[in-house]
Symmetry: D3
Subunit: 62 residues, 6 copies
């Protein structure tokens, strides 16, 4: 604890995930005044046909 | 915001997702008295071996 | 199963929740071709100071 | 309702899922004093590159 | 990691939560063949007016 | 989309939430190469009696 769930589209590289997890964990640890070891981050990918924004699928908005 | 997460089994078509997102977004926008542009919908699929109901996996209930 | 989680701000009435659950459940049941009895809906409320949009808390955007 | 979401890494067998769902459902049903039929369990898998612990991706911690 | 989220109604005692967390953590640790120290459990409460089952609010089903 | 859910304990100030949302949104926007306007952050609080770590409630671990 704390747990951070990041739900986004699928196309980010491992290197980007590495950086994102590092920075987000640091910020959340600092915000909750907890050791970074306590932070769990889950990166979740949704395809564009599984994301709705403004009543439309993302694949229909571009 | 608001965010709607729909967790179901995997076998629905893009056309069905399109309709579901449209209608659910309209209802939620109306319920919260917010513009439909603010509604995010996430459609999440679970295989039948990853769903438990009444203590059994779905694959064991049929 | 399916499970629908609706995360929104807190100020909607029981009557509105009643209508929203009824309509959302009907649409999701129809979309997944399942009996409405199988649909679970969870309504989750976040205060405006706990919602971030575009890098700002909602309380700072109005 | 209740709904139990178990987020873990991907490498567990169907037999293990079967046992886990059975036992977890029994405990949760007993804890909430509800029939086991009311318990839904969702098993969610994250690859090691999508899990952060202590500021690092799991793939970087071993 | 793993993370277990248990979403249920609000009326369970601390003692019941204690037992439930202990047993669920043991089962999940065993299932994923991981030390129990790695298991995070989040207990989430929903009022009966915020839970929909079969298209109705729980407060309307009794 | 993307949506970031941060589940932590309840005792952080509005000012801390403000900073956390700003920084996390910036990092996630940059990681997914998307405008910051598309980022939703949900801050969720769990009391210590509702958090299990290593098979124990947090209130029993201190």
């Amino acid at each position: 604890m704390p747990v951070v769930r990041i739900s986004g589209n699928p196309n980010i590289s491992v290197e980007t995930k590495r950086e994102m997890v590092k920075k987000v964990s640091e910020i959340v640890a600092e915000s909750y005044n907890l050791p970074i070891e306590t932070i769990t981050v889950l990166i979740e990918a949704f395809e564009r046909e599984d994301i709705g924004a403004g009543g439309k699928l993302l694949i229909d908005r571009d």
